[in-house]
Amino acid sequence: MPGGKSQLEQSDFVLQSRNMNPHWAEENLQTIRTLMERSALYRRALAPIMLFVGTVGIAGGVLGWLIQAQRGGPFLARLFVFYWALVATIALAGTFILVRRQALRDSEPFWSPPTRRVTQALLPAFVVGAVCGAIAADSNGGEEGILYLVSFWCWAFGCAIHAAGFFMPRGMKVFGWVFVLIGCGICVFMTNDADSFRATNLPNFLMTVIFGGLHLAYGIYLYFTEPKNPVA
């Protein structure tokens, strides 16, 4: 018996029927690809992260509004950028702690391959957002410029989330699209009806509702729908 195989094994009696389908190998490869992608998905529970980021966003918005009220006028671009950069840093630091805690609890490395992929996907758009913020801060313009900055931040954040969504549960891509569309909406309204936008003193309110409110809403949605022990 060549190779120690029986004649029945050599003839592939059972497997011949599978051979009749010329695409079986292709289908097998596709299934393998799908399974590998599912296995490599970012598997941290997102509900607590979204709830935390949403809460920080809303608290930041309310505090910003109080500061503005005390100052007796809206922020100029520089203060606006620094203030919201601080809020974002707090949100990022909290997210880092939450992710690390989950990794420790699951006895998994924090800097796992899926975490690395998600970070790499987020980074380019985050850098664009940071550069836009730096330019706006440098120009230190008024409310109109700040509103355009909010729309840029929506685009950058939406693109970042959408890119990360390729390694995360499906809903993340939709979440990213929501930010992109809101960014477009702000820009369109600004172009068509800039006066009424300026008059309503919106930037802080928009940041609160968009970044705080949307994260909180998505967090609540995930809290009730996300599997408690998420798997690939």
Binding site: E26, T31, L35, S107
Partner: protein, 102 residues
């Protein structure tokens, strides 16, 4: 199709349950028994049987530990398993190329 290629496919891996386990493990440093079971919708018994078969071939290693005072079984691909899986994929790709209309 050239039957030679088909005959070269690893018989242990070329079973849909075991192939699924190998595929999942190939993309992740390690996965727990529960994760594999839930992701592949297998019964405990079925998964145990497949894991044992792959372990006997030296394709996967199984580690048992405790997490929060509860037993935790994790599986990962061995270097031999990774090599066998890569060879299996290469063969499949060759078969696909061969079947493509010229």
């Amino acid at each position: 199709m050239n039957p030679e290629l088909f005959l070269q496919l690893d018989r242990v891996i070329h079973e849909k349950g075991r192939l699924a386990i190998m595929s999942m493990l190939a993309a992740s440093p390690e996965l727990s028994f529960t994760e594999l079971r839930d992701a592949l919708a297998m019964t405990d018994g079925n998964l145990t049987t497949h894991i044992r078969a792959l372990q006997e071939e030296g394709f996967i290693s199984v580690a048992k530990s405790y997490q929060n005072k509860r037993p935790l079984t994790t599986c990962s691909l061995t270097p031999a398993g990774r090599k066998a899986f890569a060879e299996y994929i290469t063969l499949l790709e060759q078969i696909v190329r061969q079947n493509k209309p010229r």
